[in-house]
């Protein structure tokens, strides 16, 4: 999908004029904000914890090679396989080959942004393998043939009537628009899939280097069924998600969950150290961990490495005034909202996401809620700067800014520009008809220039001398 500024604007305009979508975004983001606000009084020492988590995540990134190799050793000691995938193609190829070797046709899958990132479902389908999404929101999105619109509420853009319609079409019977009924249908259908699937695919919220343990954080219970019932388990780990020690999970879970859903802890937190051990009668007998780079190593060690500390809680999306207007799909990328505006353009060089750092007002609300204190306005401004340095800024924009800085970097020229503005004000449609930046100006009210400038008044008061 092309993602230049005009494309972003076009999708955003469409989203803004869709009143059902506007209501849905409003409703979902305000709910999630409320939930977070309600749990905060229970979370003592929050600011201190954010600071500690930021240090822990930055430390981990600074030693990422060591922690990843430790993780590999632990997983292999237990009899798991580790595959290092440099990009999306290598990761999907590995899974497809494994599935065909094991003659897997149908498999179950948990919600995972990293599988969205590598386009796993599409590649599997093209090779005759059918993945079933088992998270209710993702299942809805999959049946509708769409992509998720929020990190933790992937289907919030659908009303229950729309969901009922999608289900009715899929199951060939009329299903009423009641949440309970719809859930019951999904539960029954997916229960059968869990019990029959020869392979489960999951992402991972964290991976503990010390013990070789993956951490899955879910509410519905699909994660633990996907990772426990099928005989083969494949987990894909964005390589930045490694954690040094088991004991570090307390801090990270205490930040992640309240920020994401406003719960104290999600219903299920599964610590997975597959495959099953000698004293165990259940759990996968074969385990493959895929460690994914896909552009992360080029962010690491650079000026934007902070974005790799992200826990994917979604809090920054819920407070972002831009996200609240345009929703997830307008970004045209896997990762959306403030974290996506930084991560998406850095991750994939192939798809051009240069417009995304501009989808922000730089208000800083995201940095305020972020549980790992990612310095958002700095990163967004830095990305815009680097675009200008690389000559990626549109010609008109560069011209305007060069003219502007030339004009205003000297007091005489500044004074001249003020006189000019006053003289031509009526011609500029009272500040609404600017050449070149008409799009920008049409949504804003520029105050008319004062009849007399501050400098004029100053000189008048203090005599005409120009000392």
């Amino acid at each position: 999908m092309a993602n230049r500024i005009p494309d972003l604007l076009l999708r955003s305009e469409r989203a803004i004029s869709d009143s059902q979508l506007q209501r849905a975004i409003d409703f979902a983001t305000s709910r999630l904000r409320d939930h977070r606000a309600k749990i905060m009084p229970r979370m003592k020492g929050w600011e201190e914890m954010r600071e500690q988590a930021r240090e822990l995540r930055l430390h981990t990134l600074a030693h990422l090679d060591e922690y990843l190799e430790a993780l590999e050793r632990k997983v292999m000691q237990r009899g798991g396989h580790v595959f290092w995938a440099r990009d999306a193609g290598e990761a999907t190829q590995y899974i497809i080959e494994l599935a065909s070797r094991r003659r897997v046709r149908d498999l179950v899958k948990t919600k995972s942004m990293v599988t969205e990132e590598i386009g796993l479902n599409k590649s599997l389908e093209q090779n005759g393998i059918h993945p079933v999404e088992t998270d209710l929101g993702e299942y809805i999105v999959q049946l509708a043939g769409e992509t998720p619109s929020h990190l933790i509420a992937p289907a919030f853009h659908k009303s229950k009537e729309q969901v009922a319609e999608i289900f009715s079409r899929h199951f060939g019977t009329s299903i009423p628009a009641e949440v309970k009924t719809i859930m019951g249908v999904a539960r029954k259908e997916l229960r059968g899939k869990f019990l029959a699937a020869p392979m489960g695919i999951t992402g991972a919220n964290f991976a503990v280097a010390e013990t070789g343990t993956l951490v899955l954080v879910t509410n519905e219970g699909n994660g633990r069924l996907t990772s426990f019932l099928p005989p083969i388990l494949v987990s894909i780990l964005g390589m930045e998600k490694v954690v040094p020690r088991l004991a570090d999970l307390e801090l990270l879970l205490n930040l992640l969950v309240p920020s994401a859903t406003g719960q104290r802890l999600t219903t299920y937190v599964s610590l997975l150290s597959p495959p099953r051990g000698p004293h165990e009668t259940r759990g996968p007998q074969e385990f493959h961990l895929i460690i994914l780079d896909n552009g992360r190593s080029s962010i690491l060690g650079g000026p934007f490495a902070d974005i790799l500390t992200c826990l994917r809680c979604g809090a920054c999306l819920n407070v972002c005034p831009v996200y609240q207007k345009i929703g997830g799909h307008s970004y045209g990328a896997t990762y959306t909202g403030p974290m996506g505006a930084v991560l998406s353009p850095l991750l994939s060089e192939l798809k051009n996401h240069d417009s995304l750092p501009h989808a922000s007002t730089l208000c800083g609300a995201c940095a305020e809620v972020c549980p790992v204190k990612i310095p958002f306005p700095d990163l967004l401004i830095g990305l815009r700067q680097s675009q200008v340095r690389q000559g990626k800024a549109p010609f008109g924009q560069s011209l305007v800014f060069s003219l502007w800085s030339w004009l205003w970097s000297h007091s005489r020229r500044y004074a001249f520009s003020a006189r000019l503005a006053r003289a031509f004000w009526p011609l500029l449609g009272n500040g609404r008809k600017f050449p070149v930046v008409s799009g920008w100006a049409s949504g804003r009210d520029l105050p008319p220039p004062a009849p007399r400038t501050f400098r004029d008044l100053w000189h008048e008061r203090n005599g005409r001398s120009r000392g």
Partner: protein
């Protein structure tokens, strides 16, 4: 088996990461010791009250049974005449098996359980259970969680697949913080963590349709934890 994972080019992968992190000073961010509150928190009955409050916040229910009579009464209310009951016989607090038997639960493991018959699929006594009863390794007061491990695994199946999950826990099995649990659990398994350690906090839920909270997505619709004096 080789000591290294597979890759189109594993060493290239690691080298990429290494050269990236070597560009920054590794010393700039020290690894602090894991952050834990060590004040112990509330003890005894107060710890139970914290647990109850937090489990209720998560949508589950905590009960306190100081003796067999009370346990019988609470179980009677939860079971409420249902007859497809299954229980995992290990890890239960002392003296509770007798009471459970009075309700006619089907006991797992049957004497013949072995890894080979586990391969025959999941018994209908589990997939069709209305009420599934298990013990747990620990309860975590500040999150309202119970912790179960796949030793051997049937207990986790019961916890995942039955409609109502009932956990029996001794009051001395309650710890205060998640951090306490992350220290206690590995200490119980010096030979390494079991394949699956599950923290369960209340009933399964989803808010994926119009953000309205609905209970019972893929797991139990009710979770009861009965805390027993030993």
């Amino acid at each position: 088996m080789s000591a290294m994972g597979e890759a189109v080019d594993r060493d290239q992968f690691i080298a990429n990461v290494r050269s990236a992190v070597e560009a920054v000073s590794r010393r700039s961010h020290e690894l602090a010791s894991p952050v834990r509150r060590r004040d112990g928190g509330p003890a005894g009955e107060d710890r139970f009250l914290l647990f109850r409050d937090c489990l209720e916040f998560a949508g589950g229910q905590a009960h306190r049974a100081a003796g067999s009579e009370k346990l019988r009464e609470i179980l009677g209310q939860i079971i409420a005449g249902r007859n497809r009951l299954v229980a995992w016989g290990e890890d239960l607090p002392a003296g509770t098996r007798q009471v459970l038997s009075e309700f006619g639960v089907e006991w797992l493991p049957p004497l013949t359980l072995s890894p080979s018959n586990a391969e025959q699929g999941i018994p209908p006594s589990i997939t069709e259970a209305q009420v599934g009863i298990t013990g747990a390794l620990l309860g975590v007061a500040e999150t309202g969680s119970v912790v179960l491990a796949s030793r051997p695994g049937e207990n986790l199946l019961i916890a995942s697949l039955s409609s109502i999950h009932v956990v029996l826990l001794g009051i001395d099995q309650l710890v205060v913080t998640l951090g306490d649990a992350f220290v206690r659990v590995p200490a119980m398994f010096p030979e390494g963590l079991p394949g699956n350690v599950a923290f369960i906090s209340g009933p399964s839920r989803s808010a994926d349709i119009e953000q309205s909270l609905a209970i019972g997505a893929h797991g139990p619709m009710e979770v009861h934890v009965i805390v027993i004096s030993s």
